[in-house]
C-alpha cells in the first residue's frame, strides 16, 4: 500500500523543528523496500501550530503531534501496525484521537480557503493541479468576462480583508471603466497582531491565490497584477515567488494563458511592515514608491487606483475563495453561510483558550462554537470574560453576546467587526482598561499620522488610558475619551482612523465598571495594573517552601522554612513571579 507522510512545514512548525523531522523521515525511509517506502511531503500550515510539528500519515489520516526527530524511527516501524499512541492528540477526557477528522479542534471546521493548505506541497504545482487546481481558471477562460463576474456575484462573496465589500460588485465597477491599462492587486499585508490567516494560505497554497488573481484579472480586463506582501513573511514571499515561476512555466501566467488570447503577468512587491499599508489607497501609494498614506477616496480606485489606472484590490483569502468558486460554481458556494455573508471565514484563534490556531468555519457559526467547541474553552476552567474580534481596531464582545452569529453584519451591529479574522479570547485575568490601552498604543504607533483626529486623538486617548491604568484617572476622563473617540470615528480620513476608537468604545460600553474601579476605587479588578495592585502571601495557605523567595528578583520575600513567608511591600516590584511559581495558590493579588 502506498503511503504518504505529510510533515507540516508552516512557519510555526518550522520554528518547532519540523525541517529536522523531514530530514529524519527521508533518511529513515531510504533503505526501505520500494513496496513499503513512504513518500515524504512537506506541506503548509495545518492550523494547530501550538502542537507542532504535525505529521499526518495517508491514507488513514493518522495524525501525530509535537513530533521530534527521535520519534521518527518508531513511526516508520509502526506504519503497518497500531498508531504510536503517545504522539496522538488527547481529547479533553484524555482519550487519544487517531485522525485529524476526530480531533475536536478540526471537527466543526469546513475548509474552503484552506482546502489545500496542509495537504499539498506548496512547492509542487502538480500537487495543486492534481487536487483540481487551475480548473477554475480554465472554466473562467471559457466564459465571457461578464459571466465570470456574474458567477462571483451569485456566490455572494464579500471581501475577507476587513470591510466585507461584495467582490463581484467591485469587479463589475472596474470592468465597466474603459481603460488601456488596468491592475489586479492582491493584499498580502496582513498586519493585525496575532493574525496569520493570509500568511498560512500564501505559504501553504500559493497557487490558489495566483489562480484567483488571474481569474480576477481576466474578469476586469487587467494584464498586470501585483501581490503586495509584507517583508516579514519570508516563507510566504519565497513560496509565492516559486509559484509564480512555476505557473509561468506551465502557461497559467504570461501570454496566451491556457491557449486563449488572455495575457496576464504578476509580480511581488514587498511591504515595509506598516500596518496602514494594508489600507487600499496607502497600499497603492506604497507600490508607487510614495509614502504609505491613505488618500480621500471620493474617486474610487476601481476608476483611478494604482498609477491612476482602474484597479481592483482583493485580499489573499478572498482570492483563495475565488478560485474555488469558479471551479465549483457560485450557486454551490452560496449554499454556505448566512443570508448576508456567504461561504466560510478563516480565523486565527489566540489568547486565553485551550486550543489556539488557524480555524475555518462557515459564516453564521457562533462565537461560542468557535471559543468553546473549536477552542475547547478557557485554560484552568477560569471564567470567560470577552472576545476581541477584528484585530486591534475591532471591538470586544462580552459573555452575554456569545451566541452571536459570526458574520459581517451582526458583528458590526454589536460594535465590533469581522476585520481580517483575528480572534483573541480573554478571561477574568485580562484587564479591559489595559487591553484598550494596549490596542490604542499599537494604533497610535501605526497610524500613518496624516489626519488630525486619528493621530492626535490616539495620542491623547493613549495618554488618558495610561493615566487611568496608573491610578491617576478622573471620572471626567471618560467624557473626554468618548469625545475623542467620537471625533476619531467620524472625522478620520481612512478606515484605520474611523475604527481606531472601537477598542475604547466597546470596552467603555461593556466594561464601564472596570474603568470606574480604576478611577474611583483605585483598584484593578483583574489584578493587572501594577500601580493598583499588591501581592500578599496568605498565611493559612503558605507552606513555607521558600520557592517564591528564591524566585523573587528583588529579594522582597523573606521567612523561615515551613512557616508562612511575607512580602516586603517597599521592595516588591509586582512582577508576579511569586504568584506564578507558588504551588499552593498562597499568593493573593489585591
Amino acid at each position: 500500500m502506498s503511503r504518504e507522510i505529510l510533515v507540516c512545514c508552516g512557519t510555526g512548525c518550522l520554528a518547532n523543528g519540523s525541517q529536522a523531522v523531514v530530514d529524519e523521515f527521508r533518511s529513515a525511509s531510504e533503505g526501505l523496500d520500494i513496496s513499503v517506502k513512504p513518500y515524504i511531503k512537506k506541506v503548509g500550515c495545518n492550523g494547530f501550530c501550538e502542537n507542532g510539528p504535525m505529521v499526518t500519515i495517508l491514507p488513514d489520516h493518522i495524525t501525530y503531534y509535537r513530533v521530534h526527530p527521535k520519534d521518527v524511527e518508531e513511526i516508520i516501524q509502526n506504519l503497518d501496525k497500531d498508531p504510536v499512541e503517545r504522539l496522538l492528540y488527547k481529547n479533553e477526557d484524555g482519550k487519544p484521537v487517531r485522525s485529524r477528522g476526530e480531533n475536536p479542534f478540526y471537527v466543526p471546521q469546513l475548509k474552503i480557503a484552506l482546502r489545500n493548505t496542509g495537504i499539498v506541497d506548496p512547492g509542487e504545482i502538480d500537487d495543486y493541479i492534481e487536487r483540481g487546481g487551475y480548473e477554475g481558471l480554465r472554466k473562467a477562460l471559457a466564459m465571457s468576462q461578464e459571466e465570470v463576474i456574474n458567477e462571483i456575484e451569485i456566490s455572494g462573496l464579500r471581501g475577507r480583508g476587513g470591510a466585507g465589500f461584495p467582490t463581484g460588485k467591485k469587479w463589475r465597477s472596474c470592468f465597466e471603466v474603459p481603460s488601456d491599462q488596468k491592475y489586479m492587486l492582491c493584499n498580502g499585508d496582513e498586519g493585525d497582531p496575532g493574525a496569520f490567516m493570509d500568511r498560512s494560505i500564501m505559504e501553504g497554497d500559493p497557487h490558489s491565490v495566483l489562480e484567483g488573481l488571474a481569474i480576477g484579472a481576466y474578469a476586469i480586463g487587467a494584464s498586470k497584477g501585483i501581490l503586495y506582501i509584507r517583508d516579514e513573511y519570508g516563507l510566504a514571499l519565497q513560496q509565492v515567488q516559486k509559484a509564480i515561476n512555476e505557473a509561468k512555466d506551465r502557461g497559467f501566467l504570461g501570454k496566451n494563458i491556457l491557449n486563449s488570447s488572455f495575457e496576464f503577468d504578476c509580480e511581488i512587491v514587498r511591504g515595509g511592515g506598516a500596518f496602514v499599508c494594508g489600507e487600499s489607497s496607502a497600499l497603492m501609494s506604497s507600490i508607487e514608491g510614495r509614502v504609505g498614506e491613505p488618500r480621500v477616496k471620493y474617486i474610487r480606485s476601481v476608476e483611478k487606483g494604482l498609477f491612476e489606472k482602474p484597479t481592483v484590490l482583493n485580499n489573499v483569502e478572498t482570492l483563495a475563495n475565488v478560485s474555488y468558486i469558479l471551479a465549483h460554481g457560485g450557486a454551490e458556494y452560496a449554499k454556505l453561510g448566512t443570508e448576508g455573508s456567504k461561504g466560510t471565514k478563516v480565523f486565527s484563534l489566540v489568547g486565553k483558550v485551550n486550543r489556539t490556531g488557524l480555524v475555518e468555519l462557515p459564516m453564521g457559526a457562533t462565537l461560542r462554537e468557535l471559543v468553546f467547541h473549536v477552542g475547547g474553552g478557557i485554560p484552568g476552567n477560569r471564567p470567560f470574560k470577552a472576545v476581541q474580534t477584528g484585530g486591534p481596531s475591532g471591538g470586544c464582545i462580552p459573555e452575554r453576546l456569545m451566541d452571536l452569529k459570526i458574520d459581517f453584519d451582526s458583528l458590526k451591529a454589536n460594535g465590533s467587526m469581522m476585520g481580517s479574522g483575528g480572534v483573541i479570547v480573554m478571561d477574568d485575568t485580562t484587564c479591559m482598561v489595559e487591553l484598550a490601552r494596549y490596542y490604542v498604543k499599537f494604533l497610535a504607533e501605526e497610524s500613518c499620522g496624516k489626519c488630525t483626529p486619528c493621530r492626535e486623538g490616539l495620542r491623547n486617548m493613549l495618554d488618558i488610558l495610561t493615566r487611568i491604568c496608573e491610578g491617576d484617572g478622573e471620572m471626567s476622563d471618560l467624557d473626554l475619551l468618548e469625545e475623542l473617540a467620537f471625533t476619531a470615528s467620524n472625522a478620520s480620513l481612512c478606515e484605520l482612523g474611523k475604527t481606531a476608537a472601537n477598542p475604547v468604545m466597546s470596552t467603555l460600553e461593556h466594561f464601564r465598571d472596570e474603568y470606574e474601579a480604576h478611577i474611583v476605587d483605585k483598584r484593578c479588578p483583574a489584578g493587572v495594573c501594577t500601580n493598583l495592585i499588591e501581592y500578599r502571601i496568605l498565611p493559612e495557605k503558605c507552606k513555607g517552601c521558600s520557592l517564591c523567595a528564591k524566585n523573587c528578583p528583588t529579594n522582597a520575600i523573606t521567612g523561615e522554612l515551613r512557616k508562612p513567608y511575607v512580602i516586603d511591600k517597599s521592595l516588591c516590584i509586582k512582577c508576579g513571579n511569586c504568584k506564578s511559581k507558588c504551588k499552593f495558590d498562597a499568593i493573593a493579588v489585591e
Binding site: Y298, T452, R455, L462, E483
Partner: protein, 243 residues
C-alpha cells in the same frame, strides 16, 4: 452646474471642489491645510461638511476634496459638525498652543483649550501643505517622515536637502508659520541649509537666494523686478526714439 449649500443655490464648475465653489460665493468653511496652489491633502479635517443624500441620510465629507456634481446638497452647519470642529480645534491647539490662527478659529467656534490634552512642543500641525508646495514647485525637498505619533516634516535623513533652493515657499504657505527662516544681510538659512543672496546689479536690493535665482531664470544679469521693468521701458523708449 448648480449645487445647494445651506439651502442656497450656487453655480459651480466641473472639476471644482465643494470648498472652491463655496468660497467663491463667500460661504465660510474653516480650513487649515487647503491651498488653491496644491492638491488637497484633506488632513486637518476642519472643512468637513454634511452631504445630504437622497435617502434622507447625510454623510460627512471633506469639502476641500469632494468633487462637484450637479444637484449636490451640502450643509456647512449641523450639531455633529459643531461638535467635531470643536474637538478638532482642541486637538489642533494641543499641537500648536497659543497659535494666533488657531486661537482665532477657536474664538469663532467658542472653544476653550482643553487642559487635559497633552500639549506638544512646537507649532507644527502636520497639515503637509509645505510638502505639497515644495513638490509642486519641483524641488520635493520635504517629506513627512516616520508615522503615528512620531511623524514630522523633514528633509531627507534630517540633512541638508540637495534639491532645496531656499525659496521659502514652505514657510510662506505654512498656516501656523512654524517653519524657521533666518534672513540676514549675508544670506538665508532654512532647513539647516545656508544660501547666499543674489542682489540686483543696478540698485543692490536682495532679489532671492542664489539657488532659487538659478532655478528660475537663464538670464545672466540679475535685476530686481523694479529695475527689470525700468530696463524694459528703456528698451521701448529707445525703439520708439524717445528720450
Amino acid at each position: 452646474m448648480m449645487i445647494t449649500v445651506d439651502g442656497r443655490e450656487i453655480c459651480a464648475y466641473p472639476g471644482e471642489t465643494v470648498l472652491q465653489a463655496a468660497r467663491r460665493e463667500g460661504i465660510w468653511i474653516p480650513s487649515l491645510c487647503y491651498s488653491e496652489a496644491t492638491e488637497p491633502t484633506s488632513s486637518c479635517r476642519l472643512c468637513m461638511v454634511e452631504l445630504l443624500e437622497k435617502n434622507g441620510r447625510s454623510k460627512l465629507v471633506t469639502s476641500c476634496s469632494y468633487p462637484i456634481s450637479d444637484g449636490l446638497k451640502i450643509s456647512t452647519e449641523s450639531e455633529r459638525l459643531t461638535k467635531l470642529r470643536k474637538t478638532l480645534l482642541k486637538l489642533l491647539y494641543s499641537q500648536a498652543p497659543e497659535n494666533p490662527l488657531i486661537l482665532e478659529l477657536m474664538k469663532r467656534y467658542d472653544v476653550e483649550p482643553e487642559k487635559k490634552l497633552k500639549e506638544k512642543d512646537g507649532q507644527c500641525i502636520l497639515c503637509g501643505l509645505c510638502v505639497q508646495v515644495c513638490k509642486k514647485l519641483g524641488s520635493a525637498s520635504l517629506a513627512t517622515v516616520q508615522r503615528g505619533t512620531t511623524k514630522k516634516v523633514s528633509t531627507p535623513y534630517d540633512t541638508q536637502a540637495a534639491s532645496c533652493i531656499g525659496c521659502a515657499s514652505c514657510a510662506t504657505f505654512c498656516p501656523t508659520k512654524c517653519i524657521e527662516v533666518t534672513d540676514t544681510e549675508e544670506g538665508r538659512t532654512i532647513w539647516n541649509k545656508k544660501f547666499e543672496w543674489v542682489r540686483c546689479e543696478k540698485c543692490g536690493i536682495i532679489i532671492t537666494t542664489d539657488k532659487h535665482y538659478k532655478a528660475s531664470t537663464d538670464s545672466d544679469t540679475a535685476l530686481c523686478s523694479d529695475c527689470k521693468k525700468k530696463a524694459i521701458t528703456d528698451v521701448f523708449a529707445e525703439t520708439l526714439g524717445e528720450e
